[in-house]
Amino acid sequence: MSEREVLESLRENARYSTADIARMTDLDESEVDAVIEELEDAGVICGYQPVVDWDKLEDERVRAEVELNVRLDRETGYGDIAERLARFPQVTALRLVSGDYDFDMEVEGDSIREVSQFVSEKVAPVPEITQTVTHYVMTSYKENGIELGNGDEDDRLSFSP
């Protein structure tokens, strides 16, 4: 249960201090540290990243969702294809999905040209890939469970009974 509580707190905000998580969970700080270490060692926690609203930055950052269809043979499984694609630094997420296509791949680059070139020159030529469909992200409203934008003002009365 404490594992779950610590994880929930970190998912809410990975920058909560050990002391804050200890306060929220009634654990000692050393216990919180131990739980986090166990979760990291077990590969449950794979990393920590900020949730970024790229629209707020002047630097252009282009992101795309790419649908991939693949054809398997006796020697090549989904895992093999995924391993090859995941190594590209441009690929920020890769998932095998059910439905009309096989892989859902997220790609990032500094320009539309860079992302397009990556898909056409690095991804499409992979022999098992039979089709790619690229969707450029126009605006992001929510990332990792966090709504982007300015957020609502708290318009409740300062005092209420």
Binding site: D20, M24, D154, R156, L157, S158, F159
Partner: protein, 385 residues
């Protein structure tokens, strides 16, 4: 020309919270821990139901007692959650917030000169409600020594044996105290022995963090002498939709309905559709909100202890109740921490006897704001040590 106001209105002073509100409004950097309402939005399913009802033009009055489907749903909900069995035809009334239900009960049950015992500190509207109904208030203070639970000793000491009604609010606003079954049994015996009718405000019942809420109406011989209040403001984050309800004996609910039908006619129709959906499909939303309140509760309690302020171990609602340092009154502390640090808290005195020397601190606010507010309180305490 001066129009003479009624004596009853003149008797009731302005709310003790009002003055603080005006101070807080003057500055824009205030973090408010003075709010008695959730910071969450009403669950989407409930909002959708309200919107759909408007789109379909369902904006006419409903039955005085509330929509039949909603009363059915309330009957099922209170039975499943709290073992409260009430007939939706005759023993449930839907009101414009639980506050209206409380007011109706006072007006239906209190004759001029009758005495209403109130376990205090308590929600600030009970006392004026009794006075508006022509009754007299008997304060029954609870204390930190008793974990702010009402005891028979406190009732006897206050002379509550001669009272006509007894008002309870557990989980409690402002202390966050709860009453377990063992605590309620002697209170129920006292009420039976002395013929007291009990008004039990259980609006925070879902926000019980340690075990399950127990209603005094479920104890032997209490169902026929208790009116239970609940509503959708707190657990379902629907404060502005103004929807509550009362459960009670047929004749009492009938009498409350008689007043209600001449004053409010019926509770807001749009809100009734939202409430129906809330009861049918928003259990997970409630669970998620309660979990978050619980994490914040533990955080705030822990921080007050680190700051060196004694704080009561609140087990319900979304308030905690720290003690102000010796030598300063709660009102002074609240005013100065608002002026100097821009943190709004409510002095416990405004909630009646037993609240003196304490602050009501609401944690119905995001953790980032709580963390900053507690840091400012810590600075304030250190600078004024």
């Amino acid at each position: 020309m001066t129009i003479e106001l009624s004596e009853r209105v003149k008797t009731v002073p302005p709310s003790g919270i009002r003055r603080f509100f005006e101070i807080a409004e003057e500055r824009d950097d205030v973090i408010s821990l003075g709010v008695g309402e959730p910071d969450f939005s009403t669950p989407w399913a409930a909002r959708d139901a309200a919107i759909a009802s408007l789109e379909q033009g369902k904006t006419s009055y409903t039955a005085n007692r509330g929509k039949r489907e909603l009363r059915d749903a309330i009957s099922t909900y209170v039975s499943d959650r709290f073992d409260l069995e009430y007939d939706p035809d005759e023993q449930i009334i839907v009101t414009a917030g639980a506050s209206e239900a409380v007011d109706l009960a006072f007006r239906a049950l209190v004759d001029p000169g009758e005495t209403v015992a109130i376990a205090q500190p308590a929600y600030i509207s009970y006392e004026p409600g009794v006075i508006f109904a022509g009754g007299e208030v008997l304060s029954v203070p609870t204390s930190k020594g008793d974990d702010f639970r009402l005891t028979v000793g406190a009732l006897e000491e206050a002379g509550a044996a001669d009272a006509d009604l007894l008002v309870l609010c557990y989980p409690n606003n402002p202390t966050g105290a709860i009453m377990r079954e063992d605590d309620l049994e002697p209170i129920a015996a006292f009420a039976r022995e002395h013929g007291l009718t009990v008004l039990s405000d259980e609006i925070y019942a879902e926000l019980t963090y340690d075990g399950e809420h127990v209603s005094i109406a479920t104890l032997p011989g209490m169902r026929e002498r208790t009116v239970v209040f609940n509503g959708f403001s707190k657990a379902h984050a629907m404060t502005g939709l103004r929807l509550g309800y009362a459960l009670g004996p047929t004749d009492v609910i009938g009498a409350m309905n008689r007043i209600h039908q001449y004053t409010m006619l019926s509770a807001p129709t749009t809100a009734q559709y939202a409430a129906l959906e809330a009861l049918e499909s928003c259990h997970d939303d409630v669970r998620e909100m309660v979990d978050q309140y619980d994490r914040r509760r533990r955080f705030v309690l822990s921080r007050f202890r680190e700051i060196g302020m004694d704080v009561f171990e609140a087990k319900g609602a979304f308030y905690c109740f720290p003690e102000v340092p010796a030598g300063v009154s709660a009102t002074e502390f609240a005013e100065e921490v608002l002026h100097e640090q821009g943190v709004a808290v409510v002095p416990g005195d405004v909630f009646g006897e037993g609240g003196t020397g304490h602050l009501r601190v609401s944690y119905a606010t995001g953790l980032e704001e709580l963390r900053e507010a507690l840091a400012r309180i810590e600075t304030f305490v250190e600078e004024n040590d």
